[in-house]
Symmetry: C3
Subunit: 136 residues, 3 copies
């Protein structure tokens, strides 16, 4: 088995923001010439998350607004007495901080409308994502 | 390391529906004679999801109704101006589109009440699931 | 490829509870001398879940209360006619029952504030978690 690891740094610009990182992950896999296997994408923060969905601006706005409707900022959380970002932690917990994506014949097996979206929930900040590939 | 890949096609029948795909995944693992490792199950769509839970009819109905209560259809989403399924995308993002399940001694390490459930959120459609196994 | 598997047993004490299992997972990886690869942590139950977030008491309380606000106990679920825990199953489905974490240079690649948290949703019970490692 061949394992590789790369670190991806992202500079986010807003407090809550969805960022398409598919090109960066594609480039890593292309440069490593991974043929068959999977990629494990892992964000090292407790107020960020990762999803796979459609990279369409109005949808990204809907996702953001729906997350903040379900878990609103400043809704009497106890953790806000320490740091005013309990909602960011809770949303990150609901969504998850890692993705596993098959790689087949040199490319991620993404469907037509699938993009890899990084979710900043307490920005702007510099964020680090670990990208591991596993192949034969 | 031994990697295998299979494509599973599902024809869904309703707009929102939970479908038990455990038998199909069991059959793939059995036929491939995978002994120890894991299976990565990955749906290639942005309006479907995968969970592991109990395959009990009343519970499946509760899960469906709760998802649509938390993220209702047509609740003023901007993406609905393009395609009337923003809620499907948002629910799919919340739940996730892949599962990793250990395989031990030739079988998935599912607990007594665990089944693999495919969630259609914008059907009926024909859907494709990628099933990769990794073993020694 | 080297695959190992361990079973971790946890005795939970409350109906809903978040428990930090990072020390137990660290110990498994340390004892196995896994150098580079990943760990797959998998809970075998339909009323438990796993997240990675900050192990801070007030935040854990906020997460618990928010989950029960989004999916309240006894809110007219059909499954409650069989077993009074539909909300536990639904929350478990929303969050997910497994984690994949990179291992780099002998340690999990957890960020500064990241802990592995087991979520009991229908306790107290004895719970089993499967811990598999994959390395070169």
């Amino acid at each position: 088995m061949n394992i590789t690891v790369k670190k991806l740094q992202i500079r986010t610009k807003k407090s809550v923001e969805l960022i398409n990182i598919t090109p960066e992950i594609n480039e890593i896999i292309y440069n490593l010439k991974v043929k068959n296997g999977f990629v494990l994408i892992y964000t090292k923060h407790t107020t960020t998350a990762l999803i796979i969905n459609e990279n369409e601006d109005r949808l990204l706005s809907d996702i953001k607004e729906t997350l903040l409707r379900i878990v609103p900022k400043g809704a009497g959380y106890k953790h806000d007495q320490i740091d005013n970002n309990a909602h960011s932690h809770i949303i990150a917990s609901l969504i998850g901080n890692s993705l596993c994506i098959p790689i087949i014949n040199g490319s991620m097996d993404l469907g037509t409308w699938q993009s890899i979206l990084f979710i900043e929930l307490d920005g702007p900040r510099t964020r680090t994502i670990t990208v591991q590939t596993y192949s034969e």
